[in-house]
């Protein structure tokens, strides 16, 4: 059976051939299977976000093959890639990336709008997701009227509203205090227990230690890949 995610010798090179060439990803090969909880850890600038962007079909590698569910991503059209981002992947970003002009509910509904789901079902699905993160009471607010922790929970609700099989989180706790950070982490663990594949990007070794698998990057290269025992699974 194909792996859920398979990176084969992936390079992402900025300004290739120039003096200032940067190898954000420098020959990375990696497979991830369904149901894993993988932490990608490394120093700042080691290529973590670049890797997530490639995995999330937001960016195209300079070289190398990326198979998602057995399909070569390179052969997909913009339409198909958009479809994958919409249905297969839920993104959670460090900066929350909510749209400020929309209400909380509208933000969570957005990925469902792009699926063409009708207004009633959309509302139900969005409310269900908001209930899961404990924000069902604040759906008419704007993101700016909420605390960082609440905004990140809205972002999580948006990511899970479409019930995607893969959750990708880039430093989701980076802007939060340690307590709210832990809550977010526990939520991701809960999702993983329910069967979602979680890819968590962090520079925090403590957080990486709570993952069932830890991949370490340094200067765009993978220098460690280990399974870890966890108490929560």
């Amino acid at each position: 059976m194909a792996h859920l995610v398979e990176l084969r010798d992936i390079y992402k090179i900025y300004g290739e051939g120039l003096e200032s060439e940067v190898r954000a990803l420098d020959g990375v090969s990696l497979t991830i299977d369904k149901g894993e909880f993988v932490a990608v850890v490394g120093q700042s600038g080691s290529g973590k976000s670049t890797m997530m962007n490639v995995l999330g079909c937001l960016d195209i590698p300079t070289r190398g093959d990326y198979l998602l569910d057995g399909t070569d991503v390179r052969e997909l059209t913009d339409r198909e890639l958009s479809h994958i981002r919409n249905k297969q992947i839920g993104f959670i970003f460090q900066q929350y990336n909510l749209i400020q002009s929309l209400t909380v509910l509208e933000n969570v509904e957005l990925p469902l709008i792009y699926q063409g789901i009708n207004a009633d079902d959309r509302r139900d699905l969005a409310m269900e997701a908001l209930e899961r993160v404990g924000l069902a009471g604040r759906v008419k607010h704007r993101p700016t009227e909420m605390s960082g922790g609440q905004q990140q929970r809205v972002a999580i609700a948006r990511a899970i509203a479409t019930k995607p099989p893969i959750i990708m989180a880039d430093e989701p706790t980076g802007a939060l205090d340690s307590r709210t950070g832990r809550e977010v982490l526990e939520f991701l663990q809960q999702l993983n227990r329910e069967g979602s594949t979680v890819i968590l990007i962090t520079h925090d070794n403590g957080i990486a230690a709570t993952a069932r698998r830890c991949v370490r990057l340094a200067d765009g290269k993978m220098i460690e890949d280990k399974q870890q025992e966890v108490d929560w699974f």
């Binding site: 960016d59 339409r79 970003f93 990336n97 002009s101 709008i113 792009y114 063409g116």
Partner: protein, 417 residues
């Protein structure tokens, strides 16, 4: 993403930045209002004029016989050429349907307590004609044939009325109403400058409904032109010849021209024969040219408005780069982004267009009153065109910004501040 969603999204974005949206629309508003005003004022004027011509009848020749000779006191020594013209035209039976002098009679008409001297031109607040002063015309027995008049009551003028200098007249429908109300005027005597004239007939109205409201063309009294012997006035200089059909126009014109050359001594006067339809056509062409030129100038302001839209949309795309990145990350296709921004530009222009149409409607009304003393409202097709044009402008000038937005790389867009 369906159209309703896109519309809602666009509306949210426009409403969210009301001040800027209004400023952006300004160019379109002014442009549409200007184009509407000009095109509909010109169109309205042409249409109303044509309506009037159609009611008076087409296929007409205007014949002029000017007199050069005056006596020492400045009185015209003009001969009455009409009997000759009348006989000639009636000999062209296969071409000509009628001939009449076309001349005003300045007499004051009185019946009982009613006098044309007291009948004033009045308009209501909307510029609609309320009342007018009846106009007296000197005509022949063929005046009605030449002016599309049909008899409603009594009899028409006859050649005998002229031969015998009969003091009779026929009333237009409005004039009959003005002097006699609902009573039957036939057989009654009116006084023109104190002279008794008997009403022998009443014409049917030529205009009905809306068109009649603003027009005084049925407020007329026609009397034999020979009545000028008692009521005054110089020999008629202007005549109307009604021909049988459009094909007869040229032939009749050239025959009559030839006849008049032999009739009028070039030292004593001059003659001219015009085809009314030619005049109509040239007026149509002229109005078309004028509206084209003015409309073109106004269209430039639309172009400027469109470029304004494009500018603001480009600014919007730059400002919302991160939003675009977010939308792309959570699954918006390129086409969804294009739809979103195109819809926004189209809606912006569409709203501007509607406001512009409102202003243009007022504008064409004002222009109609000031320039042509007419009540002109834009025709439906002009309104429809103006709206489509504004939406089309939004789409045309929105394409570049929308494509630019859609072509942003998701990663780079997400990194934007």
């Amino acid at each position: 993403m369906n159209i309703r969603q896109a519309l809602k999204m666009a509306w949210r974005s426009i409403w969210g930045k009301k001040g800027r949206s209004v400023l952006t629309m300004l160019g379109i508003i002014i442009g549409i209002a200007a184009v509407m005003t000009i095109v509909s004022a010109m169109n309205g004027y042409t249409e109303k004029t044509m309506e009037q011509y159609a009611a008076m009848g087409s296929n007409k020749l205007e014949v002029y016989i000017w007199n050069y000779l005056y006596d020492e006191d400045g009185n015209s020594l003009g001969k009455d050429y009409f009997p000759d013209l009348y006989d000639y035209c009636n000999s062209l039976k296969e071409l000509v349907a009628g001939v009449t002098p076309e001349a005003y009679c300045n007499a004051t008409a009185v019946y009982g307590t009613k006098s044309s001297a007291n009948m004033e031109w009045e308009y209501d607040d909307n510029g609609n004609l309320l009342s007018s002063r009846p106009q007296l015309y000197y005509g022949s027995d063929q005046y009605s044939a030449c002016n599309n008049l049909t008899l409603a009551k009594g009899r028409d003028l006859t050649p005998m009325d002229m031969e015998r200098y009969n003091q009779v007249c026929v009333l237009g429908s409005e004039a009959a109403k003005a002097f006699f109300g609902t009573a039957d005027p036939v057989g009654k005597a009116m006084q023109f400058n104190g002279q008794n004239f008997f009403v022998v007939g009443v014409y049917a109205p030529r205009l009905t409904g809306e068109a009649a409201k603003n027009n005084s063309m049925d407020n007329i009294i026609v009397l034999p032109y020979t009545a000028r012997r008692v009521l005054g006035g110089e020999a008629p200089e202007q005549f109307v010849v009604k021909v049988k059909n459009a094909e007869s126009l040229a032939e009749a014109a050239s025959r009559i021209r030839g006849f008049l050359k032999g009739l009028v001594n070039p030292n004593a006067g001059d003659t001219q024969v015009y085809s009314n339809d030619e005049w109509q056509q040239s007026m149509n062409e002229q109005m078309g040219m004028i509206s084209l030129v003015l409309g073109g100038i106004a269209a430039i302001s639309l172009l400027v408005g469109g470029i304004g839209i494009m500018n603001i949309m480009l600014v919007t795309v730059t400002e919302r780069t991160r939003e675009i990145g977010i939308r792309r990350a959570i699954g918006a296709q390129r086409s969804s982004i294009i739809t979103q921004f195109l819809m926004e530009a189209a809606m912006l222009c569409g709203i501007g267009g509607i406001i512009g149409i409102g202003l243009g409607t007022v504008g064409s009304y004002v222009a109609g009153r000031l320039m042509f003393q007419m009540t002109i409202y834009p025709a439906t097709w002009i309104t429809a065109c103006a709206f489509s044009l504004s939406v089309a402008l939004g789409i045309i000038f929105g394409i570049y910004p929308a494509v630019k937005a859609a072509n942003l790389q998701p990663v780079e867009a997400l990194r934007a501040e």
